[in-house]
Symmetry: C3
């Protein structure tokens, strides 16, 4: 589980950076940038824990998540020009975070005996709800509702993991396959500009 924890912190840092950058782009002040970094990184898991009734949420039990988020957001705020070169690699770290968050969220929901859709939803929500709140706080229609195969990659991984949970696949193997699925689908989507169908209005 130690390896998963490290991936979790890497994902947290990547999400915090994306939130902080969104705040800078919207010309927020220092505090706004910190809040956006924090919310993007920890919002999804917090919402999951609130819905599961597991309080206080993970990041208030283990403040490491909060310290990392704030440190990253501070660094981005004060050094965002010097850190510009990180914007592209950030997409990869973000994908790692996505895979990790889905696996953690789905796994936790399964351990709370949720049903199929509930477990998949908790996985997707853990990975994406922070970004949704980031967009709402920035006054934008949430990105994941509009474009890119982002939440869909999470959906695929969460569904796969939940299905394997009902079989005799060892949990750790199932989690690894699910995380790799999310990360692979996400990276392919970035590379090939995949998009979901849209209804013709």
């Amino acid at each position: 589980m130690n390896f998963l924890y490290i991936l979790d912190l890497v994902g947290t840092a990547a999400f915090a950076a994306s939130g902080a950058w969104a705040g800078i782009r919207r010309e927020m002040d220092l505090l706004g940038v910190l809040v956006l970094g924090l919310v993007t990184a920890t919002g999804g898991g917090t919402l999951r824990d609130v819905l599961l009734g597991d309080s206080p949420p993970f990041c208030l039990k283990d403040e490491t998540y909060l310290y990392i988020s704030l440190a990253v957001a501070l660094a981005v705020f004060f050094q965002h020009r010097r850190l510009e070169f990180l914007q592209h690699p950030l997409l990869y770290f973000d994908a790692i975070g996505l895979g990790t968050f889905v696996v953690i969220g789905t796994g936790k929901a399964l351990s709370f005996d949720l049903g199929f859709i509930g477990a998949v939803m908790m996985g997707v929500m853990t990975a994406t709800a922070g970004g949704v709140v980031r967009d709402i706080l920035s006054g934008q229609v949430p990105l994941i509702l509009r474009k890119e195969v982002y939440a869909s990659a999470c959906l695929a991984g969460g569904a796969l993991m939940t299905l394997m949970h009902y079989t005799s696949v060892p949990p750790n193997l199932g989690a690894a396959i699910a995380a790799i699925t999310v990360i692979t689908v996400r990276l392919l989507a970035i590379r090939h500009n995949w998009a979901l169908p849209r209804a013709t209005p």
Copy 2:
């Protein structure tokens, strides 16, 4: 209680359809439309359960709500032109959902021993919070804060039901009267374009 359950599912379907249509109008992709359908149909009851501390929320305990919401949103996404003729009748199903949700929310709050305002608020919230989140996710000022006698119909029904709860009116009769009040006020408001007063700025 079986009859109430069926009405509840009818309302869920109507709310999911209204959410899905909002997503299509905002040119969201398949996933966005599913999320909006789901959130509109189950968001109010979920928020109620989170506030009452009844976790996991109703729709994670009985996934029927999730399956219906997703099925309706899928159907609207793929057949929204063919289903156009449903837009008008949808207003009536939506009114049924409104009445049912108010009664369920107020009833649950009363069984949790909430006070007068709390019980009425939970009823109104069960019926309207999903639509508020739908509007926020679509980047719009929530409709119910701006126009139409919508939440006010819920307010009337919730208040009536809570008042009757303090008298010797049998609970089922009280619930029926409250639901019929919500539905009647709502349909009259649609027919006669009722609106609440606005402050002259």
Copy 3:
């Protein structure tokens, strides 16, 4: 604790007034104004209680908060022109509310054994989350993320109170110092137009 309770109600009234005025400015109807008043006044403490798992939240346990919020919002709705002269003094009552809410939120988090950042966050959130929801419901980027030393005043007070909690300072004295800090910083910020640094994009 009685004195703190009175300050708490004063702050609730001030927050409800600011929410109601925001609704009037956005040309909302009566119900929208009531909802905005209610949410601004009680949203922060409610979110805190949800995250701490203390359900139902404070305002559903003691409905005084709801009655005051609704009464103030009603008064503002119907008499907002006659009450115009209160707009300026409102800033001072708002500052009192800010200090009180921070102290209550931080204190509650400490009694739930949260860590340093968690306790400070709960204090800041109790004081500011209601205003954030008010702005989101009004379709605006939350004010506190963009300008003014508002949340930062709360941050200073919450951090001070948490630090003193780890020393032998008597809790009541610590709370008083923290509240006075928040109020003083906030009033100085208003007077001198203080602002936090912004990242140069």
